[in-house]
Symmetry: C3
Subunit: 321 residues, 3 copies
């Protein structure tokens, strides 16, 4: 079981905590293949999806995770500007705690917002993405997806390709993969890779083709990042076409990698920009597995942070047993 009430960042997790989360998620994947995809583990618990930044996919993933564990879940969507009027995020969260919420899932445009809540509340907090800081549940589902296919994480060579600088997914993935013993190479234009990042134990490569094709060091996993299309206007890249040509994953590039390479993407994809449609739908792609595993990993986190009391049998028990 986890000895914490919150999941705020990958950096705070010990490798054995990560393994506990992945193992619990693995046992929960069975629930989702049943005819009745529901267990009573969190009945009577209250989860709040507090999304101060829009997200259909992550919100839906948490909502389904909660419902399949029989928790009650309430969705609150708000804009940061309306939260700023009069009552701030913290007062809102204290109100939710007063209503006896057991866990708040927070997405917020400001880095550190989930930490602020976690410190002030007894209620648990899960970071569902805070600014350009972290997106730890995405990193955990990425680890799960890689482990499911490659059986291990240790020693694997993983490319993280694209806008590393602005990506909370990249940040969380990088920390998570390093903790579990994988080798990480960041690939992207120089304007989009933070300077002085090598001390974090990662390699940097500005040429995608070189990164793909280093003799015996071929990558086991390629994680493509979404290009925020407004970056062009802000002069991080000369043009989307140029970016796509240099850093897009095409079939030609995929063929240079090992035949058993995994292609991943956190979604939503810009098909034809950072990833070509044929690659996205190829046999190497595990992009939809990531989505499926996302529900299982989030079920595991809800369970471990709220309900887990050493009684794991309640996880696989059917509702009517």
């Amino acid at each position: 079981m986890l000895k914490r009430k919150d999941l705020l960042s990958i950096t705070e997790l010990a490798p054995d905590e990560i393994t506990t989360i992945l193992d619990t998620a693995e046992s929960l994947t069975q629930v989702m293949t049943r005819d009745i995809k529901k267990v009573p583990a969190l009945r009577g618990k209250t989860v709040i999806n507090l999304f101060v930044e829009p997200s259909t996919r992550t919100r839906t993933s948490f909502e389904l995770a909660a419902k399949r564990l029989s928790a009650d879940i309430v969705n609150i969507t708000s804009s940061a500007s309306s939260l700023a009027k009069g009552e701030g995020l913290l007062d809102m969260a204290k109100n939710l705690e007063a209503m006896r919420a057991d866990l708040i899932v927070l997405r917020h445009p400001a880095a550190g917002a989930p930490h602020l809540l976690a410190k002030a509340l007894r209620t648990g907090v899960i970071n569902a993405g805070d600014g350009a800081h972290e997106h730890p549940t995405q990193a955990l589902l990425d680890l799960f997806t890689i482990r499911e296919r490659k059986k291990t994480l240790s020693g694997l060579r993983v490319l993280l390709v694209g806008d590393i600088l602005h990506s909370r997914v990249a940040r969380s993935d990088m920390h998570a993969l390093r903790k579990m013993g994988a080798q990480v190479t960041l690939v992207g234009p120089a304007t989009m890779i933070p300077r002085g990042i090598e001390p974090w134990g990662v390699q940097v490569e500005y040429d995608f083709d070189k990164a793909l094709d280093r003799g015996e060091q071929k990558p086991d996993v390629i994680i493509m990042l979404r290009l925020q299309l407004e970056r062009q206007e802000k002069a991080f890249i000369p043009s989307i076409r140029e970016y796509s040509k240099l850093f897009g994953l095409t079939m030609a590039r995929l063929r240079r990698a090992a035949p058993d390479v995994l292609v991943m993407h956190p979604g939503p994809m810009n098909r034809g920009i950072e990833i070509s449609p044929d690659v996205a739908d190829s046999l190497s792609s595990v992009i939809l597995d990531q989505v499926t595993n996302g529900v299982a990993v989030r079920m595991a986190l809800l369970y471990l942070l709220m309900g887990g009391k050493g009684n794991e049998s309640s996880l696989s028990r059917r509702k009517d047993d």
Copy 2:
């Protein structure tokens, strides 16, 4: 049971499939009159209400239908423009399938959108209105409401009055009524009736009063369509007042019909435009019955497309039995 995973249009349904749906809905109307309006038939199933066009009533009807069958339901509302950014409808739907959704209820401004999803997914799809194309669940609840009152559909004379050209309700009603043996007369201004529609086996009449009063051929049912008020600006009608005078159902017109005529409207009504308030609230009106029956018909469809395995007893079983 239905041998299909989707309900996309009335045109694809055989008359005996329609009868199965209506019969199942009839048995489900009992559930709604109980003190505990809930059966466990779809427990553990996941339904997604994916509304890419706003609709409070249809969305609520499907949500209640799912909840009363104990399914989990997640609402996703989106604008077509935001769906267009980067990730299209199909990628979104594939994500929902990957999250193990059992059924997607889709409303979309583009005709054919539900068919696109249905072809690409193993997950079932219900068309909750696609552009000006079809709104099959509305047609089924209309059939149900007529059959409930008239005991049969065959041989009935039904007027469909208003903007036939732009109405998905009219299109679905027309096909549904013809399949079940009713005679259909389309009534409206010439600008609002598609040319060359007679080969579909329907009659066309541009004079509402004549259609109401043809001796022994008096109509059994009058279905009034909602006038999209922006049509005037687009020059389909000279003025709303003129439209209302010629094609509005008033008490004076209602008296020319048979005393047992049924007045129907898919809602939301423009009271005082296509239907006068006294007609809407008259004893001839079954407009609110349509709403009640809508929930039962949607429960039937959810059940038949997802859960129906020949074990109909689970439908009427109370949750605690």
Copy 3:
């Protein structure tokens, strides 16, 4: 049990009805402290949260209240303008009744809107705030919070401070406190206190400091009202800073009151305007208790209006008993 289907205003409630509601809420507070915060009392019942004016807190409070009683709840948010188009509020509500809603929780910008629905429907209606008219569930949770701490309501001296004129909370609180035998003093600038209000049995005081410090008549409870910040533009107050100086509750003012005074606020607070942060978070503050009690009071109302059939044991029964 209550012999009514609606809760529209405090003025319509008899003191013994209020006592029934508070006593029921008291027994329900236990449910919220359990590990499984859920009872089956309203299983199979349908509640609609119809919010024609935005409100995260009140909507969430009702949603949690319904879920913890195992009712199904559907959220509908709408703007008054979109409701006005074609189909009015009443047609919408009749549709919800036709879908077999058992209770509609309505927030609406127009005073009297809930009364209009209640008169036209067999379905029950709870007023969750109508214009500047009433907010009865807020008043009931305020009574509950005071009674919980002071053991009685009769004879207490309560200050209601701020914009009395535009506040539905003030109106409902005033009536509720008077009915239960408390003495009420309205405190605020002359522009924000309705003229000729004394016949309602309340005192008026334009000087906050005087009201705090009347020798043996020190207040037992101070209820601070939220300042609508746009009031300044409408010339009700000279400036927010001036308002805050004269009518803000600071630590200096709090010290002039009795040591066991209760500080309340309906939320959301403008910290630093009508209440200073240290007062809001002081030991005298029961502001978060109000939020907790709000869920219990709303559970009591849902139960008494819908499910209460003399069988109170179902309230404390656990779901699996």
